[in-house]
Amino acid sequence: MDRVPILKIGQVLFVSIQIDLQDDSVVQLQEDLADQLAATSARGVIIDITAVEVVDSFIGRMLAMTGSISRLFDAETVLVGMRPAVAITLTELGLSLKGVRTALNAEKGLQLLGGTGDG
């Protein structure tokens, strides 16, 4: 099982999903994020899915859940870089991913979070 690395930059946790993840890895990522949020004072999470070609209902729901989970630690999660084909497919599936915010790319995601919060 592959573990997705989590980077901490300032007060934001960065996750970049580069490979085709199987279900266990996604669940593990959720747990790792919760651990990190609890351990650090991170107030934001950016999940970059630019390289992700397929998001089905399970993975979609897991990603949306990270939003709710992060809010428990008073942090906001932004999902960035969704591919048009993936967005169209999720829409067809009826998944709006309401639990999590979205942005076109990491830069805009950071703007949504109000910068890396070093100041």
């Binding site: 960035v80 969704m82 048009p84 993936v86 967005a87 169209i88 999720l90 829409t91 067809e92 709006s96 991913l97 915010r101 979205t102 942005a103 076109l104 790319n105 805009k108 995601g109 949504l112």
Partner: protein, 273 residues
């Protein structure tokens, strides 16, 4: 098989006079045509076809027959593209029957053979017509697709604000295209606001509303907010009585209103110089 031996005998009889037959066939075809193809090209086409016809009548296997149908289909398709009418192409095939009839007019003993031949030609003529129709259908489908593409422009109104003026009915095929173009444009321009103008959409019923909602949903997944504008007063009543709700999607009357709204969300406003 009766028919096959009839055809073989006919083929043998025709082969002896192949050259004169070809000449007569070509003359009949050229008289009836509008001169869209040169006489030499026509003769060459017919020569090839006559060979295939005779072979398919003689051979025991289906190979020559298949080749013949393929050759006729190709001829029909290229004629369709060159602007010939379907009758002209089919008549060229039937003209062979006329030419052969002239040759066997006095040979009473060849009646059954001629009947078999006649039926074969009828079948080939129909095949030509069908291929022609199919080719035209394909051209129409291609044109429809091109028109769809043309009627779905995406324009940049300002930094970070794009507009999609929809013209015509919004069915599911159109919605797919709109979603693709909108999302690609969001990616290309980095826009975070899209205005969908439905002034050109004749009716907004529950189905159209669902398509619009889907489009907004998809844009939101790419971090963009959408505003729908152009809802005409006449259809406002219909929308409300159908119970259609746009939920948290802002709707404005005009494109100007939508632009002002999008600008205000970006922290901008238009004022005098």
């Amino acid at each position: 098989m009766e028919t096959h031996s009839d055809l073989q005998r006919m083929a043998a009889y025709l082969r002896e006079q192949a050259d004169e037959l070809l000449k007569r066939w070509a003359d009949l075809v050229l008289t009836g045509s509008r001169g869209l193809t040169s006489a030499d090209d026509v003769r060459r086409e017919l020569d090839d076809l006559l060979h295939l016809v005779l072979r398919s009548m003689t051979d025991a296997d289906e190979l020559a027959g298949g080749e013949l149908r393929a050759a006729l289909a190709e001829l029909s398709r290229s004629r369709a593209r060159s602007g010939y009418s379907p009758s002209e192409t089919a008549l060229a095939v039937f003209a062979l029957k006329d030419a052969v009839h002239e040759f066997v007019a006095d040979a009473a003993e060849l009646v059954p053979e001629f009947l078999a031949f006649s039926r074969m030609i009828d079948d080939l003529g129909l095949h030509t017509f069908e291929t022609y129709a199919a080719a035209r259908e394909e051209i129409i489908a291609d044109q429809a697709e091109a028109m769809l593409e043309l009627s779905t422009p995406v324009v940049r109104l300002w930094d970070g604000i794009i507009a999609v003026p929809l013209i015509g009915t919004l069915d599911s095929a159109r919605t797919q295209l709109v979603m693709e173009k909108l999302l690609d444009a969001l990616l290309a321009t980095g826009a975070d606001h899209a205005v969908i103008d439905v002034t050109g959409v004749p009716t907004v019923d529950t189905e159209v509303a669902q398509h619009l909602l889907k489009t907004v949903m998809a844009a939101r997944l790419l971090g963009a907010e959408c505003t729908i504008c152009g809802i005409r007063p006449q259809i406002a009543h219909t929308i409300v009585s159908l119970g259609i709700e746009f939920g948290d999607i802002t709707t404005k009357a005009t494109l100007a209103d939508a632009l002002a709204y999008a600008l205000s969300r970006a922290g901008l406003k238009i004022g005098p110089v």
